[in-house]
Symmetry: C2
Subunit: 256 residues, 2 copies
């Protein structure tokens, strides 16, 4: 029989300061495109953010991710060419004022960022039947996305910017990186130190779209029930917290 002390997290405690560190990371994480500096990333830092990614939740403990570390300028250039092609196609999908604004946006930092990382999903990693993927086939893809988000947050806390380049056709990315068929590229990330982090998401600052009021995205027990009395007090709390957040106050800063 196993000792309880080795099977339980007995010595792990989280203080309000711990919580504030996490919230600070979450609220100040940005999708970085235009502020990369060329400084190399120390292996010690890269190792830590990859370890964070590797400890994401995964369906059936499948750990379906791999990480292709791209530093070769020729490989980056092939990806960048793929971006430019998909970007030109995308621009043509917008009209009028939106198209004008779209063309002014910088949407990637492939060549400037010292390191690019492609996070993938190996759908066959542990055989055809996976615990938790039997009813929803997308679950393994979602696991790799969780790895991306862990990496992104870890990078922010290490002072590194991350930008997710999604404007490239998956088959073009696959070709540029030699990714074979059962493997799905999930995210192509540009990573590096930055001149600065922006206070707000660029598309919010550019008035492309506003930050949505969170309390309006809360439904009680059924989709569309936005006035369920069971959620009234929660929504009021969310409105207050959202207002504090707009003022840059961390949500645990008043707790001890």
């Amino acid at each position: 029989m196993e000792n309880r002390s080795t099977t339980h997290q007995n010595d792990v405690h989280f203080t309000p300061a711990d919580r504030n560190s996490l919230y600070k990371t979450i609220f100040n994480r940005r999708d970085v495109r235009g502020q990369f500096k060329p400084d190399p990333i120390p292996d010690a830092t890269l190792s830590r953010i990859l370890l964070a990614a590797h400890h994401a939740p995964s369906v059936g403990f499948m750990q379906p991710w791999d990480f292709i570390i791209v530093t070769d300028p020729n490989v980056k250039r092939a990806v960048h060419t793929g971006f430019q092609q998909a970007h030109a196609e995308a621009a043509a999908m917008f009209t009028g004022e939106k198209q004008k604004v779209y063309r002014t946006l910088k949407l990637e930092g492939i060549m400037e960022a010292p390191v690019n990382i492609c996070v993938t999903c190996d759908r066959d990693r542990t055989g055809p039947v996976v615990i938790g993927r039997t009813a929803d086939k997308a679950m393994d893809l979602y696991s790799s996305v969780c790895a991306v988000q862990n990496l992104w947050l870890a990078a922010r806390s290490e002072g590194l910017g991350v930008g997710w380049v999604s404007i490239i056709h998956p088959e073009v990315l696959r070709h540029a990186l030699g990714i074979p068929d059962p493997i799905v590229p999930i995210a192509y990330l540009c990573i590096g130190t930055v001149s600065h982090f922006l206070a707000k998401p660029e598309l919010e600052t550019a008035n492309w779209l506003p930050r949505l009021p969170l309390d309006e995205l809360i439904h009680g027990n059924q989709w569309g029930d936005k006035h369920n009395p069971a959620c009234a007090a929660l929504k009021e709390t969310i409105r207050k917290d959202s207002e504090q957040n707009r003022q840059g106050i961390l949500p645990c800063s008043t707790l001890e």
Copy 2:
């Protein structure tokens, strides 16, 4: 012209202690199924973890997520019935010893957890053309997954357990929660305080699958190039960090 001090994050700094708080959260987050306690979750805490979810990255700043807060036992029961059906189907997909082990695993805490939250993705939220979703149509689904991961980490730092129930057919979940057609249910989460957090993922402890060695998941510049000299030092660092991690040592604990 905007003031640089308002557009940049000038006063945001991360210390090694901040980083360790984040890594502690990431490494001690668990998928909780069997340890939920019935205590209610304070609105103040729920609000903070939802605010964390709402600050996930989203493609084109689309914020495609909604949150259905489920506390009604009748709604939970409908979801639980859907789980039981999908679980029985899944058990039949495994054979021999794997099937025996599968049947012993507790895979959800729907009725026991005081709060369940369904995180969704509204694919039509901002119209048919979305910046960053033009070449990869799955990007908005991935944004909602990033919201799930933010919520999960915030919950862990607040001492709350989260379990993702994926063994239910999406259309059954849709029916139980009245989710209309353009909205995609991404994650059904059970949330609550817990008797304890397990030291390791349950499927690792049950010898269902081992934790993979991270250094073997690293490729240099091209898929399959696992011996690229450009990654040799990084892999060595990863092996050392992984060994420290197995011993429960946080990766920034030796830094200051």
